[in-house]
Symmetry: C2
Subunit: 336 residues, 2 copies
């Protein structure tokens, strides 16, 4: 993906927890690269986080800063990437209101991503209307900055489709090509599993390695990682596929031929799990060390980080306000 | 209702057509009275009008001014009443986004007023999400100004209930009594029927007398009004109930004992429809004359009327922004 350049990119995260190695491999590392030759906006989606955390706003508030620490730790540079807080760009709420009229309730209920997430969450008192509407809010996020590229996992493709539909409906209904159709930028990296090898990393499963984890904590977590459950003795042949230690090596080991040799050895038998884990720590610790150190530094001055976020939000607002102006003009709502 | 005072009142209209005698009797006349001893906000609900007119924004835009002409014509005084355009107060969109998380989809789908309106409109391509959500947007309108009184017809009571539920959910969830519960101010005046005696006045039925109608047009429309279909000859006994001419007299004739005598005479027989209509014109024309004249004057300078609306919207924004500040503080979204 080294050739991605001259695009406008919108991406971000819900501030509901610390970012972990899964985020790093799946998106953060790529964002650091993309910021050099593209115009990149990264939003901390507090509004969206509230759609299923309305009763826990303090969690959202606290994680806004934590996520910002993670961003700066991995090398997102506020001079190159506009990092902003979603709720500080009220133009996004206005755009959402306009777009809600261009989407039917039935269409929102058909969204496969939202359907999956509703099943997962099992909202006790019923699905909040805001949760059902959040794909429209995402369309506002994307179109406000006229992003033409949105990095996503394949499970998020329906969100891009929804945005494209809204863009087309808007431009058709109001007879002006105001909004820009985004394209997905699909990650070429397979999703990093949790340390238990079961599904993705998550706080609730206790299977995540966080960007802020100390070297000792990383070491502990790697030593306790699941491997091939059939690989009981060193001399047994082992399975590489679905073995999380090898998944992590795929993501972090720069020595591809060495890794290839290790896989062969492991498959044949005679290579112990501890040896593989040692190699993982050998490549993982130096990759995490500068991130951890930068995170420690920026987290020591949360006031300054908030200043960066407020400044980024002001810049984001200026761009979104320009789009909103065009939107309102196309809708004949430019009162003067 | 002469005793209503010291309240904060929020009311308004969708700008989808000219206001007529039904609006005048049902709400406008009352608003003129209420503005003297209450703090009154009247919104021209362009956002809400778009929820079922997304494909016809020019209609909405044009009617914003027409409705403003009607308001000024009936004596709403911008010094006493803050008249504003909904979409020029973006704080309302923000509040709507926050409130959408406190209402379930199922609850919105149960709203009887919305259900009726959906049946009535028969949206060809499906119900727009914005339309289903508009009660939440109304809750934002009401609570942004901390209105404690909302003039409504009985069919609109479910909207107030929805707002009260949101107020309670918000104050409970965020542990602060930020929002104010509104009470309905039920109109004591029966709804004025259309000139055909069938249901309420509406443009599509061609049964409305508009505030801007010329004296000749009013005269024509009254002469063609439906009466008691069984009252064929002057000497026949006639029915007063459901006879639109008498409904209008109830609304406009200040001489109550004279009207009572007329009703008796009509019931007994011997009073012709033309005589009753003459009396109606006798009281209606002088009531409409000053309204029509003021409307003509203000409509001659639409630029000045827009200035009034922009000024009212600025004032409304300042109040809504204060509420939004409190809302965001309670939600821990006061970044600084």
């Amino acid at each position: 993906m080294g050739s991605v350049s001259n695009h406008t990119i919108l991406t971000g995260d819900r501030p509901t927890g610390l970012l972990h190695l899964g985020h790093y491999v799946g998106s953060l590392r790529e964002r650091e690269r993309l910021q050099h030759e593209n115009r990149q906006f990264v939003l901390i989606a507090d509004l969206q986080a509230l759609t299923d955390n309305a009763d826990n706003p303090e969690k959202v508030r606290n994680n806004v800063l934590e996520v910002a620490f993670d961003y700066l730790a991995v090398g997102l540079d506020p001079k190159l990437t506009t990092i902003f807080i979603q709720s500080l760009v009220p133009e996004l709420a206005e755009l959402t209101m306009y777009y809600l009229n261009l989407v039917t309730l039935a269409r929102l209920q058909r969204n496969p991503t939202v359907k999956d997430e509703i099943r997962l969450r099992q909202f006790a008192g019923g699905v909040p209307a805001g949760f059902l509407c959040y794909p429209v809010s995402q369309a506002a996020d994307i179109t406000a900055f006229k992003a033409d590229l949105v990095p996503v996992g394949s499970d998020q493709l329906p969100m891009i489709e929804q945005t494209v539909e809204i863009v087309r409906a808007f431009n058709r209904t109001y007879h002006r090509a105001v909004l820009v159709e985004p394209k997905p930028l699909l990650s070429s990296v397979p999703r990093l599993p949790g340390t238990d090898g079961k599904g993705k990393m998550s706080k609730s499963l206790g299977n995540a390695i966080y960007l802020g984890d100390s070297a000792d904590a990383v070491s502990d977590k790697v030593k306790k990682m699941f491997t091939d459950p059939g690989h009981l003795r060193v001399e047994d042949p082992g399975v590489v596929e679905g073995n999380p230690v090898f998944s992590y090596l795929d993501a972090f080991d720069p020595d591809l031929s060495g890794l290839d040799a290790m896989k062969k050895h492991y498959r044949k038998g005679g290579l112990g799990d501890m040896a593989v884990k040692r190699r993982l720590l050998e490549v993982l610790q130096p990759a995490l060390e500068p991130i951890r150190e930068r995170r420690r530094l920026v987290a020591a001055d949360p006031g300054q980080v908030m200043e960066l976020l407020l400044d980024g939000s002001r810049k984001a607002r200026a761009v979104a306000a320009q789009t909103l102006d065009e939107v309102r003009k196309a809708m004949h709502l430019d009162y003067h």
